[in-house]
Amino acid sequence: MADEVILLDFWVSPFGQRCRIALLEKGISYEYSEQSLAQKSDLLLRSNPIHKKIPVLLHAGRPICESLIILEYIDETWSDKSPLLPFDNPYARSCARFWADYVDKKLFDSQTRLWKLKAGEADHEQAKRDMVETLQTLEKELGEKDYFGGDVFGFLDVVIVPFVAWFYAYERFGGFSVEEVCPRLVAWAKRCRERESVSKTISDPEKVYEFALYLKDKFGAK
């Protein structure tokens, strides 16, 4: 079909989940295609030859790569409903983009070092400090607002919310309480989970922790 939407994705990927949440928020029908990361399909390699990564959105056969770029594409293409970025406020848009970039630079990196490095080692302690600092920075940015964008669930909430399923893993690997570090962020996470698009999409925290343990066993520092 000419306007067919397919999402090449991996079940636990927070980057893929961003796209799923956006598609649900906009009420877009699409085909979900689970990909193997160990044995990448021809379709994935053809669609994303540069990075060979998920998520990839295929719209009428044309690939769009990189989760933040996919979110803006979805927002601009299906602009009649549930805007993710406020269409009339360039400053609010740039703030959302700045913080999305911050999340991709800092949160995922700290998360990876938390499960990858050996507990007790100096670099693991640094990873824990970096994670706490990142969570506190996001907490400060959220402030007293209901959502990162203000009163309404939007772009930056979609960008960050898949990571809340990883909070339990951060606590297990980092030996700290996320609720103690960032109580407002935890309240925000609970608020977001009340949305169907979020609760249907983000992973079960236990399953995420098990997955992180599998990654640690396979790729972690020995």
Partner: protein, 229 residues
């Protein structure tokens, strides 16, 4: 009533600062450049970019500060009237954004290391950089600019390779992009830097060469530890 003042906190040598200024000049927006000394960061910079403490930062009026050069370019495009830097079509916009991110996330580090490391390590990064630049060149597809007939978002994002590239090649004594190997990219670079609005915010070549010569030793030392990671 006068429109709110626009200022750019930047450094003369930074291609990222140039992106911010180029976007403003292409839109015909007057601004005040504020030169920052990164070895002695000002209160102004630390107040307006507390997270990354880097340049450029765009200040618009009294209450808007925008860091991150690509975020700045999109803000300028959306805020000020005039021909748009990003195309209208969502797929074309996604493509331009993808290649801008490719430049920042995939090209920059190997490019830097190709310049400042030595021996076999350097050879590896030179190879990677040449492949990356071939891919980028491929996006020109016979057009005058990445944006088509006129300079657009991706041209501004790629501007480091239009002007800084041969300055850095000269200082480092490395050849990465020869005209016969990269005819489209070299032609594009010349066209980009000859635009009057762009020329007005490019640093003077001799000054840039002199500055990079001065800090070359630091670049080589930091490159060694970057390459080891």
């Amino acid at each position: 009533m006068a429109s709110p003042a626009v200022k750019v906190i930047g450094t003369f040598d930074s291609p990222y600062s140039h992106r911010a200024e180029a976007a403003l000049r292409l839109k015909g927006v007057p601004y005040e450049p504020i030169l920052e000394d990164l070895r002695n960061k000002s209160e102004l910079l630390l107040t307006h970019n507390p997270i990354h403490k880097k340049v450029p930062v765009l200040l618009h009026g009294n209450d808007r500060s925008i860091p991150e050069s690509l975020v700045i370019v999109e803000y300028v495009d959306e805020t000020f009237p005039g021909p748009t830097l990003l195309p209208a079509d969502p797929l074309a916009r996604a493509t331009a954004r993808f290649w801008a991110r490719f430049i920042d996330d995939k090209c920059t580090k190997p490019f830097w290391l190709a310049l400042w490391t030595e021996g076999e390590v350097q050879e590896k990064f030179i190879k990677e950089t040449k492949e990356n630049l071939k891919l980028l060149e491929g996006q020109l597809k016979g057009k005058r600019f990445f944006g088509g007939e006129s300079i657009g978002y991706l041209d501004v994002a790629a501007s480091g390779y239009a002007y800084w590239l041969d300055v850095l090649e000269e200082v480092a004594g490395v050849s990465l992009v020869a005209a016969d190997e990269y005819p489209d990219l070299c032609r594009w670079g010349k066209d980009y830097v000859s635009d009057d609005r762009v020329k007005a915010c490019l640093p003077e070549r001799e000054k840039l060469v002199a500055y990079f010569m001065e800090v070359k030793g630091v670049f080589m030392t930091t490159a060694r530890s970057m390459a080891a990671k």
